[in-house]
């Protein structure tokens, strides 16, 4: 497929996503149980951005998500009867809110809020993924995003040993800032585009982007674009379609999205489409998957590609959904 003629194959992608559910007796379906709820979130959000959210059976999705909710501890698991985890909890809430079905699913959101809050070790400014967990900027983003989506951000104002939870979070993120202006998953860990997104978006939600060295970090992010137009996650690593999400969303929140060469990135994303089976892969020629399909479509959305709904760079959900909740933050899309 030549660069100039490539187009988004939206119908194929919708077909690809819908067909994923027909693969239930395959081994790979069973091996990804621990990602199932995330997978449905990636599917729902892709379809929503492609304007085809009706392609999946809404009530079946809601019932499934409801079955993943653990009413005793308040979290969601990736699959019914698995252990709850912060990653699947955010996905569960994102799916239900996108479908405007939190009440319909009979989820007690105050329990979800309590589940999230107890994943912060006392006196710490980070959240863990589950009760066995480790600190991670990613899990901290999941916690803050979930609380915000549930309208419970004010719970972070609670004071503990003299400082609010929010202040502890800000000081933890401050400690995580690296010499290149970026963020790793922990204090001192190598800057990584994915972790940069989680830190920037979390700080955007709690209105504390002021601690970020905006120009420094944005420069590091725009350095991620390689000659073929794709973006990588770290210097000298291979370009990958999913960084179209991680890098662009952070740049959008920092109002520096125009530092990316838009046309080159669009052709890179389009070249990673599977022309036969649909879906988008990590890079041209590889097998497509729903994760890279979402992040490819979301990247195109931020770049202003025609006939794709706008995605919110803070929450990775449709802009219209975030506007309905009144949670829209300041950012720039192309």
């Amino acid at each position: 497929m030549s660069e100039s003629t490539a187009k988004l194959n939206a119908d194929k992608h919708v077909e690809y996503i819908v067909n994923l559910g027909r693969a239930e007796n395959t081994l790979s379906y069973h091996l990804t149980e621990h990602l199932r709820l995330n997978g449905i979130y990636w599917a729902i959000t892709s379809l929503s951005l492609l304007g085809r959210i009706d392609a999946l059976d809404r009530s079946a999705v809601i019932e499934y998500v409801g079955n993943c909710w653990n009413s005793s501890n308040g979290g969601f698991s990736s699959h019914p009867n698995h252990d709850t985890h912060i990653l699947s909890t955010l996905s569960g809430i994102q799916i239900l809110i996108t479908l405007d079905a939190v009440e319909e699913a009979k989820i007690d959101t105050s329990k979800v809020v309590d589940y999230i809050l107890q994943l912060r070790p006392s006196n710490q400014g980070f959240f863990t993924g589950d009760e066995w967990g480790e600190s991670d900027t990613r899990f901290t983003y999941c916690a803050i995003s979930t609380l915000s989506l549930l309208g419970a951000l004010d719970r972070l104002d609670q004071v503990e040993s003299g400082t609010s939870i929010k202040q502890k979070i800000v000081s933890w993120f401050t400690q995580c800032i690296n010499f290149d202006g970026g963020f790793g998953n922990n204090i001192g860990a190598e800057t990584h585009s994915g972790q940069v997104f989680t830190a920037v978006a979390a700080l955007a939600i709690i209105d504390r982007l002021d601690i970020i060295h905006t120009d420094n970090l944005s420069w590091w992010l725009s350095e991620r674009q390689v000659q073929n137009g794709g973006l990588n996650g770290r210097p000298q690593k291979q370009e990958d379609v999913c960084y179209s999400w991680w890098v662009l969303s952070a740049l959008s929140i920092l109002h520096r999205l125009h530092w990316i060469n838009k046309d080159k990135l669009i052709s890179f994303i389009l070249s990673a489409q599977d022309p036969d089976c649909g879906g988008i892969a990590d890079r041209p020629g590889d097998v497509s998957d729903v994760f890279h399909t979402l992040f490819g479509v979301a990247g195109l959305s931020m770049l202003g590609y025609p006939e794709i709904e706008r995605v919110d760079p803070v929450y990775c959900m449709p802009v219209k959904t975030i506007e309905r909740l009144g949670l829209k933050k300041s950012y720039t899309l192309l």
Binding site: V18, L20, G21, R22, E24, N25, L27, H30, L31, E33, H34, L35, I40, A43, L56, D57, A60, V61, E63, Y64, V65, N67, P80, N81, H82, D83, H85, P121, Q124, T128, D130, E131, W132, G133, E134, S135, N178, F179, D180, G184, N185, N186, G188, A189, E190, T191, H192, W219, W220, S222, E223, Q225, Q227, G229, R234, P235, Q236, K237, W259, N261
Partner: protein
């Protein structure tokens, strides 16, 4: 042999997954032999009666080998180990094998960290293979801040560092994120136990990785972590700058070493206008510009531009416009910088 047919599990009735309503399509329940499903059905039977036993431990290992990302199974495994007070050193040996096989699995490293945290805080010396660690664990382990390691665990820490070094070599993947995060956890957690020889050893390790691949950003990041986060720098800052310049001389367009150089100046509250670095950059730019088929190394030119901007020297604008020509993919950034320089 399937678990459903095994003699040693015949007292248990496998529990099939209740798929519930399918969100995506009607269920097409395959009766074909599926070892993962078979093991999971037996796992549900084990969890159902909350059995903590050696055979349950073996079952979790089987499932993990088929699916290393299944954190519910990992959790159950940890609980069995702890409740039965099993030998965590043999668990660590198993992790040696599994970390190599499932290098990119978050769970493998997470489990390893739990084991090491437990081993380091128990009294059984690491070398004593006959004495299983007697461990107690609360229902909500605060692994984020485990108690400090016992002095006797220094050998464990050294073992871990050596293991990772070997692993980088064996897997030829010295950029694996989880592994680096784990190594930094070891260095932080055991920091007070380490002696000069250990720090010296770590710096030698870093040096060897930089020599293997000077573009490995993870190693540069790790060097910063050791010297400036853990505070191991024992030479002068000037000596460290000289060190970086030598490395930049070998690979003048290497963003990792240039970023590192900016980082160590910033953390020491120094600007870019270091005579030594300016001279060095100018020489690089001139040498390359002299031969017509070669562009000057962009980071060297960028350094000169940013240093000039810092000084409000108008030459900055000219440098940025050159950079815009040489690096068109980022032309909007360079244009913005040139405007900044004009208005400075």
């Amino acid at each position: 042999m399937l678990y459903a047919e095994r003699d040693d599990f015949k007292d248990l009735i496998p529990i099939p997954q209740d798929e519930g309503p399918s969100p995506l399509a009607p269920i097409n329940y395959s009766q074909k032999c599926n070892p993962h499903r078979d093991a999971m059905d037996m796992f549900r039977a084990v969890v159902d009666i909350n059995e903590k036993s050696e055979r349950a431990l073996g079952l979790t290992e089987d499932i993990i080998r088929m699916n290393a990302g299944h954190y519910t199974v990992w959790h159950y495994r940890t609980t069995i180990l702890v409740e039965l007070g099993l030998d965590l050193q043999s668990e660590l040996k198993l992790m040696d094998e599994l970390s190599t096989e499932f290098l990119k699995s978050y769970q493998v490293w997470h489990h390893r960290r739990l084991c090491v945290g437990l081993l380091a805080t128990t009294t059984s010396p690491f070398a004593d293979k006959n004495c299983p660690a007697a461990v107690t664990i609360s229902s909500t382990p605060q692994t984020s801040s485990p108690p400090p390691p016992l002095p006797s665990s220094i050998d464990l820490a050294r073992y871990e560092l050596q293991f990772i070094a070997n692993l980088f070599h064996a897997t030829e993947d010295p950029k694996n994120y989880h592994t680096w995060v784990y190594r930094q956890w070891i260095l932080t957690y055991f920091d007070k136990l380490f002696q000069d020889q250990d720090r010296h050893h770590e710096l030698e390790f870093i040096e060897s990785l930089i020599n293997d691949d000077i573009y490995n950003n993870s190693v540069w990041s790790h060097r910063f972590f050791c010297l400036f986060k853990l505070g191991w720098l024992h030479t002068s800052l000037e000596a460290e700058i000289e060190y970086v310049l030598i490395k930049i001389g070998i690979a003048p367009s290497n963003m990792s070493s240039w970023n590192y150089l900016r980082g160590i100046l910033k953390v020491n509250r120094k600007g870019l206008n270091q005579q030594r670095v300016l001279q060095f950059s100018e020489t690089l730019v001139k040498a390359k510009s002299a031969s017509d088929d070669m562009n000057p190394p962009l980071p060297a030119l960028e350094w000169l531009a940013d240093a000039a901007l810092e000084d409000k020297n108008p030459i900055a604008t000219k440098h940025y416009l050159t950079l815009k020509d040489l690096d068109p993919i980022r032309r909007h950034y360079w244009t913005w910088k040139s405007h900044l320089a004009l208005s400075a």
